[in-house]
Amino acid sequence: MIAYAARRLLSAVPLLFFLSLFVFLLFELMPADAAVISAGENATPEQIEQVRENLGLNEPLWSRYFDWAGGLLHGDLGTSLFSSQSVTSTILERLPVTASLALVSMVLVVLIGLPLGVMAARHPNSWLDRGLSSFASLCMSVPPFVLGLLLAVAFGILLPWFPPTGYTSVADGGISGWLSSLVLPAIAVAAVPIAELARQTRGSFLDVLGADHVRATRAKGMPEGSVVLKHGAKNAAVPIVTVLGLQVNRILGGSVTVEFVFALPGFGALAVRSVVQQDLPMVLGIVAVSAVIVVVVNILTDLSYGLLNPRMRR
């Protein structure tokens, strides 16, 4: 298992290297010019040239890449074009909000999606199963920010149960204040993943419960409940974990618009603001950090395969 984990970790190194190169070159190809943006609208050509020199943009491409990538390794992503704040510290300031949102969403996804899926699988083609399947299709058809708007209107404004905007940290409002500021956005972000997880769980359980060895245990007289838990759960786990891993990617994407709707000062809201301002180093840093998050989650997903199914440790 340790060898498997080490191999998996090592294999991420070239991917991360290539990703950093790709992202850097992508931004290099963009028509936006950091010097022009930074110098402001009324800058003279001389001023722009001065800014260009100060930002080190006259250096050759490869040396700028190595500067940037070297900084990336040390956790230094450069400086914002606007606030003269370091990109790293700005992102770190924002991450707890997004992490809270992701945490609450993930809890919702697992607590709602899994039981729904198992229930549907135990009674395939019942009214419950069909109802859940239609509900899942419906959930998947509403983009997260649209659901967020609906929730904000319904439970923030018409029925003022939760605050429709703003974030309350644990330090300011205690656990309950923190949670109530996150309930609506978390539901908005979690709806699609819940539907997807339920669908995947149903499918995996149906596949496993129909398999011969499971039917044999059932024939042996094992109670249905333990058949589902002992045999179903273990064998259905791998595809479920896969889909769960994919949801992190989705939550990160959904947070962009949802944080904007609920005015949560998180990573996604920062992304929107920086993009609108064309704050190139900040956007570059945001893309890089989200890439690292996704790669780490993928590694964790793969490692959990190894734990769940020793045959995967190849």
Partner: protein, 316 residues
Amino acid sequence: MRRRREMTIDEASGATRERRRLRERRGVRQFVANRAAVVSVCFLLALVLLAFLAPLVATHDPDEQNLLNKFQSPSAEHWLGADLYGRDLFSRLVYSSRVTLLAMLQGLAVASSLGITLGLIAGYAGGVADALLSRVSDAIMALPPMILALAIAGILGAGLTNAMIAIGVVLAPPQFRLARGAAQSVASETYIEACRAIGCSPGRILWRHVLPNISSPLLIQTTFAAGVIVIAEASLSFLGLGVQPPQSSWGVMLRAAFDSIYQAPWMVLAPTVMISLTILALSTFGDGLRDSLEGRGRTRSKRRRERVESAARSSV
């Protein structure tokens, strides 16, 4: 004597031919029998019609302002009410369907022309080109699509076309992988070798022989991609990076509703319904297509893999 024997063989093959025809017709029948899929096709066709006939359907000029009607609730005059500037929301909704279709066309054009062309080349040629293109495709797929699309769209500058270039780049990798895989497997077929034997150029083989033979999976993939584009257009326009006001799109209308959420919360509803129905119709249509084009001979493990793949595919 020889002639006679021929006849019986012809007849025998005639029987199998008839069976095969029936099987093909079953694909169409299967689709038609899928009521949800038929309803979704009708909805999509109606949407296209709505876009073309927008001037006839709309009751008002979508951009005409009348401050007297500011935030008017739905009424006989304004079926869906009026917005901050007193513009008729129903007419804006109708005209917005044009933007949605245009967005789909642009986004799919970028995604498919990049993804399919490069995928065919990579899959057929292999070697360095394949390795390099596959790396790039993996890199794009490793990034959260919404963040990447946002970054590209934002730096290209706000506007529908730029937003769709961005989303096209993000959606190209699934098309690339599909085309590449299909080209790889088709390239090893005998009929492709037979085409080389009569002197077809690689370009002709890819365009005339490989592409038509992988058109069904590509079509299915494209349908799902169209759904993602609707979401992306709405999201980017909502954030102010897509369609620019005063031009109207469903995303722009949601933004307007968001900006006056305390004064007129009901404004959220109409664009929400349109967006959700369109996405629902596209995904139902895609499922129906997949069942009727590829439904035969799928094993359980293959279905399972498809589920995981479709979960990965539809992420924005």
